[in-house]
């Protein structure tokens, strides 16, 4: 009977993915993408992965949705008109090209169909390896936490998490390299609406408290550093949208400290543990719980700061003098 829910969710997810890519307008694409994130989050709840569901709901649809909306402001709002313009200007051969494009298109669809069959067969025949559940269950008492996913993330495979903070920081640096450091610039518009200001002021402590709750709850159940980080990052985005950008208010060294503290503390802790005679990130079981909580808190602060910085920097990337550039082409 519960197969009904699963199959409807699966059909919905596939349909949304297709519509997302086939929609003629970009605004349709972005909002359908939000719905797609919701369907995936529900699918993960059905599969018993509540941590993944929280992460997906928070970051992959909320944060990315805001980023895409911000990008759409720069691009044209309606793809079709613009595309005709583009083709008229840049690609005068497009009318004659339709026939010669037929063959590549046919090849693409044939290849995709074949690939679909291969992928379905491969997924169907994945051998039963047993997984790592038993190993994780056996080591769980030594890890210092009670929730297996948190134990894997911050104890058994802590270097993954450490490098992941590094990847986010690297992404931020790459964005700086592409668009210039516009983090410390003040945006022009403050929230002029009293209701909007009140809502931002109300949601900031709620988000902070809920993030802290998730962080602490990660010890015993779904939750943890990433989920808390996204919620705290949402605080930064809300404040930025309300005209109080965090990074231009606090002093520079504090911003840089917030961005790097998670990475640095993680690394120092790892080397101290190595100096004490263990392997990298091998916590002593007696203190593991406390150490994990400290590491989680600092990592969450770092990731939240990095997400806020990514949004702030992308939001400040303005298109300069569009008319002149387009006319020279």
């Amino acid at each position: 009977m519960s197969v009904l829910i699963d199959s409807i969710l699966a059909i919905l997810a596939v349909y949304l993915a297709l519509q997302c890519l086939l929609a003629p307008r970009l605004t349709q694409t972005v909002f359908i993408f939000f719905a797609f994130g919701l369907a995936l989050a529900l699918a993960w709840v059905r599969l018993g992965a509540v941590d993944v569901a929280i992460t997906e709901a928070a970051i992959a649809s909320g944060f990315l949705g805001v980023l895409f909306l911000d990008a759409l402001r720069d691009f044209s709002f309606t793809a079709p008109n613009k595309r005709e313009n583009l083709e008229a200007v840049h690609d005068p051969l497009s009318r004659n090209d339709t026939k010669s494009l037929l063959l590549p298109r046919l090849a693409l669809w044939l290849g995709l169909g074949l690939f679909l069959l291969i992928a379905l067969e491969a997924v169907w025949k994945i051998p039963d390896g047993g997984g790592l559940t038993a190993a994780a269950e056996a080591l769980l008492p030594e890890s210092g936490v009670e929730h297996p996913v948190t134990a894997v993330l911050l104890n058994f495979r802590a270097y993954d998490t450490w490098l992941e903070i590094g990847v986010i920081l690297l992404g931020l640096l790459a964005i700086f390299a592409v668009g210039g450091i516009k983090l410390y610039r003040k945006p022009g518009v403050a929230a002029d609406d009293p209701l909007l200001r009140q809502v931002i002021l109300f949601f900031t402590p709620v988000l902070f408290l809920f993030g802290a709750f998730l962080l602490y709850f990660g010890k015993t159940g779904p939750g943890g550093a990433f989920q808390a980080a996204v919620l705290w990052g949402a605080i930064g985005i809300l404040l930025h949208l309300g005209g109080r950008p965090v990074f231009s208010v606090i002093p520079r060294w504090l911003g840089q400290l917030l961005l790097t503290v998670g990475l640095v503390f993680f690394l120092v802790l790892g080397f101290l543990l190595m100096a004490g005679g263990g392997a990298l990130f091998e916590y002593p079981p007696a203190h593991a719980g406390v150490l994990i909580l400290i590491v989680e808190t600092l990592a969450a602060i770092s990731i939240a700061a990095a997400l806020t910085a990514i949004f702030a920097n992308l939001n400040q990337m303005k298109k300069e003098e569009p008319n002149e550039i387009e006319s020279t082409n």
Binding site: D193, L195, L196, V199, F202, V206
Partner: protein
């Protein structure tokens, strides 16, 4: 037994309001009436479903959490209703101004 009957009734009523909200979004002619249908009817439906589930789960901590979820949703959705309506009005005004001038 009586608890289950009440839960079923609450959930059915909640579903009815959700259907009403969705139909309103689909059928009403302009944005403002659609906003009205969606943000009122859906929140009422969510309230009924929340009450039903709080009764079914029957633990005071969960009931408190569900109630706070409903309260947040009321706040959030009334705000977004107002913001969307204001956004739309501003867009229309600027469009009119452009057409006139």
């Amino acid at each position: 037994m009586i608890k289950e009957v009440i839960t079923v009734i609450l959930l059915v009523v909640g579903c009815f309001f959700f259907l009403a909200g969705t139909l309103g979004v689909l059928r009403f002619p302009d944005l403002f009436s659609r906003l009205h249908a969606l943000t009122k009817a859906d929140n009422l439906g969510l309230g009924f479903i929340a009450a039903g589930m709080a009764l079914h789960i029957a633990s005071p901590w969960a009931a408190l959490k569900i109630f706070s979820i409903w309260l947040f949703t009321l706040l959030a959705s009334s705000t977004s209703c107002y913001l969307i309506a204001r956004f739309q009005r501003e867009q229309e005004q600027s469009k009119n101004k452009k057409e006139r001038g």
